[in-house]
Amino acid sequence: MTTGTSKLLHDLRSKCSSLKSAAELYKDCSAAEKKEMLALMKAAAADIANLLARIETGA
């Protein structure tokens, strides 16, 4: 595995972990926090899709 792929995988794990933790917290958030959290979660999901595409290309 190249260093580049290794870093992409690290980022992927990191983003997935944050998304999982955020999803667990979501139900306890206030309405305003939910809106902010949802925006961040969507951004993280887009990053994950992007990372997966880069890993696919790299592979």
């Binding site: 990191s14 983003k15 972990s17 998304l19 933790s21 955020a22 902010e36 993280a44």
Partner: protein, 445 residues
């Protein structure tokens, strides 16, 4: 709960949000890159830091480089990272990290980290406590106190048992100081009030609630809101008052005297008694349900005569910063063999007398003059000392208890210069028992 000052070093916005949500009860500062993290460490003061290792795309694990500076500044460094290879874990610990967690279970992990950190803090502070606020070198007493400190930041009620003058109030104060509760430490000695007065003191009253209530007054329960209510000598509380207190504890609300509006108070309860609570329950003097409400964790403090090592540790503590005293070997021996019926309080009084005396070297004569209790061998220091035990074997338990009771009453009366009302109050006995004892002993009534 103790409020910590925490630095979170994390580049990912969502991860920052997740961490901040787990730490809402604390003061949190965020840093998204190496430079900001270093700057915050230079200017801020933090108890704890959570560090991600890769700070940005293509970052060369700059989070690792922040750890040594954080450790130098006294910050307890915890790595929370997805870079959890054995090599990274090893490097983080080498650089001084206290803990390493993989990202993904923040809800559980952060709570564990905070609990562990709070306990470490307390343990580190305990050495100072035993040299100042609660002086002891006795390993058993230290271990018991350390165990109790673990429950300080919880809601659990604590019951402190031990004879008068052993430091029950001091210990209760320390437990409050380590509880993280924002409110005050409010103490009340239940034996110092009649039933009516105790009710007024605890629950408060409205103006005109009874004769003499010229103004409304807040009760101790309300004063202890978000703090600690320390009920000393709870065994002296009447059953009627116990019922009222139990209701207030269960409902967290109560009615001040003369008021039709209930008051709410969120207090943690610590109580103390010099009597055996099980015996009080058996005698019908303590409600079983109240006992279960107040004894989440129980600590028993030994009398001073059973922790002899503490005698001269306390002497040093009492004379710190003032006139230092020396003791002849005979005075030392006498003090170490003395029964200290008034425990630490009696030792403090003795030290005050000795320190204001003419000689800096305390002789056996001085010690004997001021300590009027009985110097006795260690074996007889407990409630069923050697003599009493032998007497019980020879004459039966009832006769031995009667003899012991008479000895205590006569000794207390001597110490109170024959003032019977003081003995009645000190020993909480009936007038009938006092006179019957004196009559039996052939003493003048």
């Amino acid at each position: 709960m103790v409020k910590f000052s925490i630095l979170v070093v994390e580049d990912d916005k969502l991860a920052q949000k997740v961490m901040a949500a787990q730490l809402t009860a604390h003061n949190v500062d965020l840093a998204g890159d190496f430079r900001t993290a270093m700057k915050k460490l230079e200017t801020g003061k933090y108890d704890l830091g959570f560090f991600d290792l890769m700070l940005g795309v293509d970052d060369d694990y700059s989070g690792l480089k922040v750890i040594p500076r954080a450790v130098e500044k006294g910050v307890y460094a915890v790595v929370v990272s997805s870079s959890d290879s054995d090599e990274m874990i090893g490097r983080a610990y080498e650089l001084g990290a206290g803990d390493f967690y993989a990202k993904g279970n923040e809800e559980r992990n952060v709570a564990d980290i905070l609990r562990k950190f709070a306990q470490q803090r307390k343990a580190a502070g305990a050495a100072d406590i035993f040299a100042g606020a609660f002086v002891t070198v006795d390993p058993e007493t230290k271990a018991a106190a350390l165990e109790a400190f673990k429950y300080a930041p919880t809601e659990l009620p604590i019951l402190v048992l031990g004879p008068s003058g052993t430091g029950k109030t001091s210990l209760a104060k320390i437990l409050h100081e380590h509880s993280g509760r924002a409110g005050a430490f409010v103490a009340i000695n239940c034996s110092a009030y009649s039933e009516d007065l105790l009710e007024a003191e605890l629950f408060g009253y409205k103006k005109g609630a009874f004769t003499g209530a010229a103004e409304s007054r807040k009760g101790r329960l309300l004063e202890a809101h978000r703090g600690t209510l320390f009920l000393d000598e709870i065994g002296a509380m009447s059953l009627n008052m116990q019922t009222k207190l139990l209701k207030a504890l269960e409902e967290r609300s109560f009615y001040p005297l003369g008021s039709e509006r209930p008051e709410r108070s969120d207090f943690r309860i610590i109580s103390a008694t010099l009597e055996d609570p099980q015996a009080l329950i058996a005698q019908g003097k303590l409600r079983f349900d109240l006992f279960h409400r107040i004894h989440g964790y129980t600590i028993t403090l030994k009398p001073l005569a059973r922790r002899k090592g503490d005698i001269f540790a306390l002497v040093r503590h009492f004379t710190k910063g003032g006139r230092r005293l020396a003791f002849t070997p005979e005075a030392r021996e006498f003090m170490e063999g003395y029964s200290w019926p008034g425990n630490v309080r009696e030792l403090k009084k003795f030290m005050d007398l000795a320190a204001s005396g003419p000689a800096g070297r305390v002789s056996l004569e001085t010690a004997r003059k001021h300590l009027k209790g009985v110097a006795q061998p260690a074996a007889a220091a407990g409630p069923a000392g050697g003599d009493t035990y032998a007497y019980a074997l020879a004459h039966g338990l009832e006769a031995a208890l009667e003899k012991l009771s008479a000895e205590i009453i006569q000794r207390n009366l001597r110490e109170n210069d024959g003032v019977k009302t003081r003995t009645l109050a000190d020993l909480k006995i009936s007038t009938r028992l006092l006179y019957a004892t004196l009559e039996k002993a052939g003493e003048k009534i």
